[in-house]
């Protein structure tokens, strides 16, 4: 092995070993604040998602109310006729039958009341 010379080390940038301990300590020290940040981030996400959910649900409620009001407005102002409203629903025949049945019951009730009066 005497034939082989010792291998010289590669050159190291100046002051590298002066700053290396700080560079390493910076990466290992903030562990505690990192854990704290993790929980803070989780809490923040929870708050934001709750907020978004709340906002979404309340705004859809708001939309539903305003839609009903709008429909009523159209009907009350007689902009839509009964035929118009019926033509907009999926099952106009069924609704029509339902309305007729309700009115029939009303009529039957009146007859009954009259019968009672006869007694």
């Amino acid at each position: 092995m005497q034939k082989l010379p010792k291998i010289q080390d590669f050159k190291v940038p100046e002051n590298y070993f002066d700053s290396l301990p700080d560079n390493i300590m910076d990466k290992v020290s903030p562990q505690r604040s990192f854990y704290w940040m993790k929980y803070a981030a989780a809490a923040a996400i929870l708050v934001v998602s709750l907020g978004v959910w709340q906002f979404n649900s309340s705004s859809s409620q708001y939309e539903a109310i305003s839609m009903d009001e709008e429909v009523n407005l159209f009907i009350e102002s007689q902009y839509w006729t009964a035929e118009d409203v019926l033509s907009m629903v999926d099952n106009p025949e069924e609704i029509l039958d339902q309305i007729i049945a309700e009115e029939m019951v009303y009529e039957v009730d009146i007859v009954d009341e009259n019968d009672q009066n006869w007694y």
Binding site: K3, F10, K11, V12, L20
Partner: protein, 182 residues
């Protein structure tokens, strides 16, 4: 650093109040040796810097599990050599998919002025070392350059003394043959 110095550092690290100070002392005591053992394997300073930092970060993470059966130095060398070998392994796998040949990059790094002090023989020696398999190169550095005992090397690499002797013998033979050709 001697056993007493190691013991002092470990005592400081055990106490939460002096833990940071103790770890800083550990870095100061071993940073040069750890850096150079890594640099000899990966050659390029920026890579050696990353791996040295990772080695100490891992050491910080696992220091409580360090039982003190071996010296801190062999324990740190074990982390450092593992990190270096897996870095080189990763670079080789990546070469399959990219045109960036890390082996060529390391070879041309030797030729770049300012990276090595010394003559043509030093460059030739470094280039010859690069032709060895990574583990053989590591064994050569630990024995020839660091002058470690086979027992220490066995502890660091997790390889039997017999296998290490054979590996070192092969490495020296290849280097001598290669230098004789030039």
């Amino acid at each position: 650093m001697n056993k007493n110095g190691d013991q002092e550092i470990l005592e400081l690290i055990k106490d939460p109040k002096t833990r940071e100070m103790g770890f800083r002392q550990l870095i100061l005591a071993y940073q040069k040796r750890v850096y150079h053992v890594i640099r000899r394997m990966v050659l390029i300073h920026e890579d050696a810097d990353d791996i040295t930092q990772n080695t100490f970060i891992k050491a910080h993470h696992y220091i409580d599990k360090f039982q003190g059966q071996s010296s801190i130095f062999t324990w740190l060398y074990r982390i450092a050599t593992n990190e270096s070998l897996s870095f080189l392994e990763k670079k080789k796998k990546r070469f399959f998919f990219s045109i960036d040949d890390h082996q060529e990059k390391m070879e041309s790094y030797i030729d770049q002025p300012g990276n090595i002090d010394g003559d043509e023989i030093q460059r030739l020696l470094q280039k010859t070392l690069l032709t060895l398999p990574d583990k053989q190169r590591l064994v050569f550095h630990l024995k020839y350059q660091e002058e470690l005992t086979y027992e220490e090397m066995s502890e660091i690499t997790g390889t039997s003394v017999g296998a290490l002797k054979a590996s070192y013998h092969h490495a020296v033979k290849k280097i001598e043959q290669s230098l004789a050709k030039e």
